[in-house]
Symmetry: C2
Subunit: 237 residues, 2 copies
């Protein structure tokens, strides 16, 4: 219940940041658009140079603006990078090691994959079949050689969500992937058979997408988290 007050306090402390956000809104700027220079902002907002600098730094940390040194300041992507940074650090900090944080991330990822299955299957089927095939082939080939395939795995899941018409879900899945990737090394490595199992689960997910079979997709998604869930259970608490 304390969130709104705390955030309120933060906004009052950094009114220059609030003013810059207001300016972005009223001038209808979009991600990538240039902001006025520091000097212009001082003038327009009637605040000191150091206030503007502090505000820009705050907004840059939140990815609301993007400072490109030597080029100026632009409206940012408003990605979930700040969320990732906080979650990864919270994971590293948690008293029982980072595995508790990874368990929570896996649980939330599973929840999203399960509940949004219909949107994912529908969208992926129409837009990304070719690319998903290429990725599954890559995962199978790498698993057969005993090589990791994190990058292909991530691209596979990102693609699945990119056609859902829900940017928030897509970005959350990406953010959780980043947390997952950062924390997973503490888990120990997957065995060759687990790697092949995981690659096969992706093939099953794709097959379900091709058939437009939402229930089969849900089943293969659940299966696909089994190896990591087993590793989490086996890890020392």
């Amino acid at each position: 219940m304390s969130l709104p007050n705390k955030r309120g306090a933060r906004m009052r402390r950094s009114t220059a940041a609030g003013q810059i956000k207001e300016l972005i809104l009223t001038q209808r700027l979009k991600p990538g658009d240039a902001l006025p220079t520091e000097a212009e902002l001082c003038e327009t907002l009637d605040v000191s140079r150091s206030s503007v600098r502090e505000a820009i730094r705050t907004l840059s940390t939140l990815d609301i603006v993007d400072v490109r040194h030597g080029h100026g300041t632009f409206v940012g992507d408003m990605s979930l990078d700040p969320l990732v940074e906080t979650l990864v650090f919270r994971g590293a900090l948690s008293s029982d090691g980072s595995l508790e944080a990874l368990r929570e991330v896996v649980e939330v990822r599973l929840a999203l994959d399960f509940a949004l299955a219909e949107l994912v299957v529908e969208g992926a089927r129409r837009h990304h079949v070719e690319e998903l095939h290429v990725l599954v082939d890559e995962m199978n080939a790498k698993a057969a050689r005993g090589e990791y395939f994190l990058e292909a795995d991530r691209t596979f899941h990102t693609l699945l969500y990119s056609a859902t018409d829900n940017q928030l879900a897509e970005q959350l899945v990406g953010a959780f992937w980043d947390v997952h990737t950062a924390v997973a090394p503490h888990l120990g490595s997957a065995s060759p058979s687990e790697m092949r199992e995981t690659a096969q689960c992706h093939a099953d997910m794709l097959a379900a997408v091709l058939r437009g079979d939402v229930e089969a997709y849900r089943k293969s998604v659940v299966e696909h988290y089994r190896p990591i869930q087993r590793m989490l259970e086996a890890a020392p608490r």
Copy 2:
């Protein structure tokens, strides 16, 4: 795919922030613990005063540290406040007004509520029945008088998740509530009958929790989003 590089660049730019995070980890500090003073940090990390200040500001924006003016700097709560701030602003900025952002938030909330129903019912049943009853009574009473009950509504959902043993899910639901609350005013107001309907859905959710009936809980959760989904559909694009 561009996230890791961008974040990498950000971390390289702010190595003092990285060093402070490292210090929190190695000294096993917990949220609420005091950090060394600015002067001590300069000394320990061998960086300039302005670098320390900039780093503290960055970490404060991410809620990794908490600056209490006149009292010092402490390890922060690592809440999802920064996520909320970015999402609310992104919502306000989106080209088709903020309603698209609210639709996405409702979809993700529904996904979490649906997929985590088992954990929620199990936990709430054991720990929060009394408080949930009080909140449902409050919602019913207010709806009958035509008054809003956002605060009770939020507390209801937060309580449901607080016993799930998944802090991330709990915080995400809280964060989405904040976004929801910030963006909802653009939607127009609920009718008295919609308010009574929403209050009744919470009563149904509680009844399902009491019976330990996960399927009935899922059904009433889905119902409970109907009024807002109708309002989103009716709103001009």
